[in-house]
Amino acid sequence: MLLKNIENTTKFSASTVHLDHLTTALNCLVPFVKTGANKDDVLIYVDKDGLSFIRESNHVIRIQLYLSKELFLSYTYLNGSTTSSAIGNNDSEEHRPDGGEDDHMEICVKINHILDSINVANRNIDDIIECTLSYNGDGYPFVLIFEDSFISEKVEYSTFIVKDMDNFGLILDKEHIIFECIIKGDVLYKALKDLKEVNCKECYIYAKTSENGNDTFAFISKSDLGYSKVRLPNSRSILEKLQIYENDSTTICHDVPAIGFFDFNSLDKIRISTKIASKVLLRMDIHGLLSVNILSQTEDIVITDVNKVDNNTSRATNRNMSLPKNYPGIVIDVTMLEKETIDVNAQRDIELLMETNEMGEYIINPPKSIKIQETSTREKLDSSINLLALDNSRAIKVPDSNPNAEESDDDDELNGKQYDIDPTNNLPLFF
């Protein structure tokens, strides 16, 4: 009854019973809200396909976390002339060439408050709790309603003025990618954890391929200990793809290392996200921007709060709630800027370091020859269109907080009207 009312009167409402999953997802945001101005503020971007949580701190790092509407039992989005609902939703219906401001809603909230509420509500382990999120446009509070068999709880959160998020410089230059890498999430998580344990301060990402398939993908930590190397396994089952390009996203070159240099505090923010990740796509462009796309599988969600793991796994089985079949999982997109462009000397040091073996001796290398392989744009596109080789390769649109920046992005692709030159520009490629 209550739900009906909300659906009828509010512009946006969505309800779910997967509070664990919601908590897991929102926890990934927590490292990003710890620094920067307006500490807890997170922008929720709502459109007809789902929710995006966006946070940018200090103009150097930005996270966008997407929850598809399939997660929700019911999903209603009504804004202005545009109408969309979970039932009978039609993708092509709403496309407007101008990218339409009406296409989405932006809500600015304190994420910690919402997390706290969900955690509190989630403590009731005997019952299934249905959580409804709703918002009625500017000036209204953001509302959470928790309902179990007996109690209905309504929580209102103040919303704040949405400031324009300036994404300049935080968008991957897809035409000038220098390396691209797909790796299993758990391995990346272990590596980041190791780096954290040795108190890493600055971190180099080192990638090098060779023709014989002996690829190297490693993190090099610079800390009190001096340089430490964490080499990730290069077996194909783990390092699914590693490619170095010659600045243009198309020319593959071997035996030339690609090196990125990051403040570890930034890199470490994605650690929680990688913990739930199945696969991670790392790309870095020539401007020193690293883009990390993280896809979590819906099956083996690990609750990020360590203390609650046991609790929650048992609970999940008790309740016998599996996530909806067509739900693609949490999709996280992080972009971060390099700490500084490394100079020639630093680059040489790193190369030398990576070329010493465990005995502290140089590996005798054959003279470096840069072999360039030309691949046609088309070919590459084909190979990468299903980068993660998931069965469930359907397109999912990820809304961008700055619609102006990607005006032509959204539906063109789906309609087959236009392809970007670089096929990896959209998250849908994950699937």
Binding site: K193, V198, S228, R231, S235, G360
Partner: protein, 588 residues
């Protein structure tokens, strides 16, 4: 490559990590010395009161290469020592931040280590960036490969050879050469084995040249030669650690030929206006020395037969480092040979105590200074002698024989009865006269069988007691005449009563026979008649349904006595180490 060591066994790696952790708790710098035979890791704390030294033998590692001749960088870590065969052995030493080393050696959660490699490359093939760096490489089960290169600082190894000194002194005093062949035959073969292995260790050590053998007159032990040795299962000592809460800061070991008292305690702290800031606390474990593997006590035996003192050795040291040292080998699976044997050497209070454990080819040593408050002065004692624990296998027989000789002279029973006895001896205590009438002798005679539960060995000897007297006197006469070697007899621990009392040493000292004061209650009752423990009174009460007034009075007296003795009886560890700081037993 100048040095390479590989660990693949997870258990060994775990041990390596625990050891490094313990070393890093002692000091922030861990010092490492590599020789052809072993890798020595050690650290000494900033106040020079604790030293932990771990010898990883070559065999501990799956692979161990040391090529000192290739070292061209960091040469100030190079040293050369001449070994027994006269060949030069090269050493390379450096120091490294302990916390770092611990962190990077640690096994991560949810993953295990497939291969752990330590490399030092200061040879000419070393790239500039890796000079003076220890390369640690870990291959994980998850296929992740981690390589760390912490900085090292080459140093000269200046060995602290307290362990070697103690061991050589130990051999000197107790070892096979120091004891007549006659006595030797009675020694436990396992103890002889220990002597042999220590001997070998000393000979093999590169640093034994620095041991100063004190110029000592043959056949003449002096106070300076004191060394005591205890060998026991690690569990015995770790039990007291388990009992001790975190607030307990110090540990006192007190051993006499009959028993070992381990007391963990903490002193009270008072603030202004006598506010109690911290409560005093103590917990004591007492075990029979028969439960020890071996014990060798260095003691001066003496005493007037009528004034007998319980002789004990005691040391007090800080618990913290000892606790972490003991934690090295905790929770490990049972391992063959010596896995859980703890060796312990100590001298006088104030001198360092040395602990040693061996495990999986690793020899772990902890040296801690002890409190020097108590003075265990033997003074000009000529009757210094060694007490060595009996051969385990043949214990029963030997003890019987010895008991024949010594039984009659045991003056004190363990526990409360001793204390009371001492009180009785004490002129200050006026009560004893009351006690005497109250204890009817027949009842005492009844008591021994019940007491057998507590002290079995002695009870066996009871029967032959009377016959033994004459024998004993013979023996003592011989002993006085004979040289030191003869005096260094092998005797079961229960026989000896080394003089505990430091204060009245000289008069007591001359009489070697009287050292057998500790013993069973049965003997005690005979020697000292009616003054025995409260237990006797309890027995009386139980049996005599008709108690007379006298007995009640007596009980009252006894309790009073107890109170007094608890205040005054510094010897008895039961009364709390908090009082130990007081000068020892004037009454004694």
């Amino acid at each position: 490559m100048s040095f390479k060591a590989v660990i693949t066994n997870p258990e060994k790696h775990a041990l390596w990590c625990r050891i490094l952790y313990v070393l890093s708790t002692i000091d922030e710098v861990i010092k490492i010395t590599i020789s052809d035979k072993e890798l020595i890791a050690w650290s000494i704390n900033s106040t020079d009161t604790t030293l932990c030294q771990i010898h990883f033998s070559r065999q501990f590692f799956e692979e161990f290469n040391f090529e000192p001749n290739e070292i061209v960088f960091g040469v100030n870590g190079l040293q050369s020592k001449r070994d027994v065969q006269g060949t030069d052995q090269k050493l390379y030493s450096f120091q490294i931040n302990g916390r770092h080393l611990t962190t990077i050696s640690k096994k991560p959660d949810n993953d295990s280590i497939r291969n752990f490699t330590i490399v030092l490359n200061n040879s000419s093939s070393c790239p500039e960036t890796l000079v003076d760096r220890l390369l640690i490489r870990m291959e994980m089960e998850s296929l992740i490969v981690k390589e760390y290169s912490p900085q090292i600082d080459p140093i000269q190894f200046d060995p602290i050879i307290i362990d070697l000194k103690y061991k050589s002194r130990f051999l000197d005093v107790f070892g096979t050469t120091a004891i007549t062949s006659n006595a030797n035959s009675q020694l436990d073969p396992r103890l002889l084995e220990i002597f042999r292995s220590i001997q070998q260790e000393l000979e093999a050590s590169l640093f034994n040249g620095e041991i100063e053998y004190g110029i000592r007159q043959k056949d003449q032990l002096t106070e300076a030669d004191e060394i005591n040795y205890i060998c026991c299962d690690r569990i015995l000592l770790s039990n007291i650690l388990d009992n001790a809460t975190n607030s307990i800061t110090e540990l006192k070991l007190e051993i006499n030929p009959n028993k070992l008292n381990m007391t963990g305690f903490t002193k009270a702290i008072y603030g202004k206006d006598n506010d109690l800031l911290r409560n005093a606390m103590s917990v004591t474990n007492t075990i029979n020395t028969l439960d020890l593997e071996h014990s060798c006590l260095f003691t001066a035996v003496s005493g007037d037969r009528k004034k007998v003192q319980e002789s004990s050795k005691s040391i007090i040291f800080k618990l913290k480092d000892f606790k972490s040292f003991m934690s090295i080998s905790s929770n490990s699976k049972s391992l063959p040979n010596n896995a859980d044997i703890l060796n312990l050497w100590f001298c006088r209070p104030g001198d360092p105590v040395l602990f040693e454990m061996k495990k999986m080819g690793v020899r772990m040593e902890l040296v801690q200074t002890t409190d020097g408050i108590q003075t265990n002065n033997f003074v000009q004692d000529q009757n210094i002698r060694q007490v060595i624990s009996p051969k385990k296998g043949t214990l029963q027989q030997e003890t019987k024989e010895i008991k024949k000789q010594e039984y009659p002279f045991r003056d004190e029973a363990p526990g409360k009865s001793t204390r009371e006895k001492r009180k009785l001896l004490d002129p200050n205590v006026t009560k004893p006269s009351l006690l005497h009438p109250s204890n009817p002798t027949p009842k005492q005679l009844n008591i021994p069988p019940k007491r057998e539960l507590f002290v079995q060995d002695i009870s066996q000897g009871n029967v032959k007691r009377t016959a033994a007297c004459s024998l004993r006197e013979e023996v003592t006469g011989k002993q006085n005449v004979k040289s030191r070697k003869l005096r260094a007899m092998f005797e079961p621990p229960s026989e000896y009563d080394p003089p505990v009392s430091q204060n009245e040493p000289v008069d007591v000292l001359r009489r070697s026979p009287d050292r057998n004061m500790l013993a069973e209650r049965s003997t005690t009752t005979i020697g000292w008649g009616k003054t025995d423990s409260t237990k006797e009174y309890v027995n009386i009460d139980a049996r005599d349904m008709l108690k007379d007034e006298k007995i009640k009075l007596l009980q009252h007296d006894v309790t009073e006595l107890k109170k007094q003795s608890s205040q005054e009886g510094n010897h008895m560890s039961e009364f709390g180490p908090t009082q130990v700081t007081q000068p020892r037993g004037l009454l004694d």
